[in-house]
Amino acid sequence: MTAMTQTMTGNYTGNYTGNEAAGGLIGPQPAAVLDLRGHLAQHGQLPSLGPHDVVRLARDAGLTGHGGAGFPLWRKLEAVINSGGRAVVVANGAEGEPASAKDRWLLTHRPHLVLDGLQLVARAVRAGDAYLYASERHRGLDHLIAERRAAGIDAVRVERAAAPDRFISGEESAAINSIAGGLAIPSSKPPRVVERGLRGRPTLVSNVETLALLALVARRGPAWFRSAGTADFPGSMLFTVGGAVRHPGVVEAPHGTPLTEVLELAGGPTSRLQAVLLGGYHGSWLTAEEAASAAMSRSDLAAYGASPGAGVVVALAEGVCGLAELSRVMTYLAQESAGQCGPCLNGLPRIAEQVRSLAFDGTDAAVFTELQRLSGLVVGRGACHHPDGSVRFLRTGLRVFADEVAMHLDRRCTRTSDDRVLPVRMVR
């Protein structure tokens, strides 16, 4: 199953909108920009901005977090500033989600934009320490960090911290615990990390895409950013499009782009679709009909109980058993519980067991009642949203695959293909 991860996340086709105004992260040249000179030639120097300038820029641009929650960056910055004391900033590129590859794409293709953004937020909150928290595979970035430091363009020293390749490593308190030398597992909240984060200091944890966008906004201005996207969520975002599309990979499109267009950017569906997963393994499933009319904005997707999340889009073709997909991912999610909170530790494996029996064994409708009951036992009963997100993935899946469920209860299955679509990273 590791091979699945490889095919999914290792395949960057560099699709791009070709529309500068649409975003500019991928831009007209999808090739990697790794040397500092090339980066400066393409984007120019970072303008010198004061702390208030950065907060105002983020606010005027309406830049929101691209790690999944969509929280306005300027408000997070203000929360850190208002907490007082010496602050810490963290560029979060952990991306534990196996179906997502956009953070990895950014760190391998646009690392300087991320590091520019990290300096900007460091300036905004007057941080003394900055960290780049990402998988060990990005250790090559040490050279870039040293080069920038030597060139004198980074005022705040950046330290790279290795993120374990686990699903919840990127949760912000998990990131902080990991950077502090502990386990990459979430802490209970309150306190929020903006108040008391790394070593008790106010900490800004920001997704690498958010930071890269901030670096563009600083150069091109808020008006440029607002020329794309929706009023609430201006600008564009990166999508990791996978499954039954011709060119799976990372694409860029404005917020509010119709889902069908996002699929087209990845070459379009390879066959008739039965469902689309949005927002990854804590996200939601849409039926093919819903997917045909949905637009990738928070307000639009809310009507389907979905959200763009961190931009994961997986197209599921007809002929693939949706329940087998649900089962494999639920087993994976149960494995990814940090094991700190009793309901998650005990409940997710039981849920996964029930889904397995629904997908693969002769079973009866009692499984449903049991799944309802167990889901109720885990939702809202944890230090992080792992149980809640996992149950959302399952519940929306069971709704979308209702016909398949009926067939399974009748000891039949629509499966014509043994493809395993959703990538998982199983331990042992």
């Binding site: 802490s187 909170c341 009793g342 409940g347 036992l377 230090a383």
Partner: protein, 67 residues
Amino acid sequence: MTRLRIDWTACDGRGLCAELVPELIERDEWGFPLISDAAVPPGVLVHARRAVAACPRLALSLQAENA
């Protein structure tokens, strides 16, 4: 309004709270507290305080919250 809050990372499911405030807290099949209503009625408050003090893991707390 006062609400009961559980620090799930600390809670070990020892169950003292369920013994002390059965009005609000039951235990799930794994022994962890199931709170029927996080809002604590005034009459139960004294029991809830006792449960907070008795929790061997300091996982239970009461939080004043504006309605």
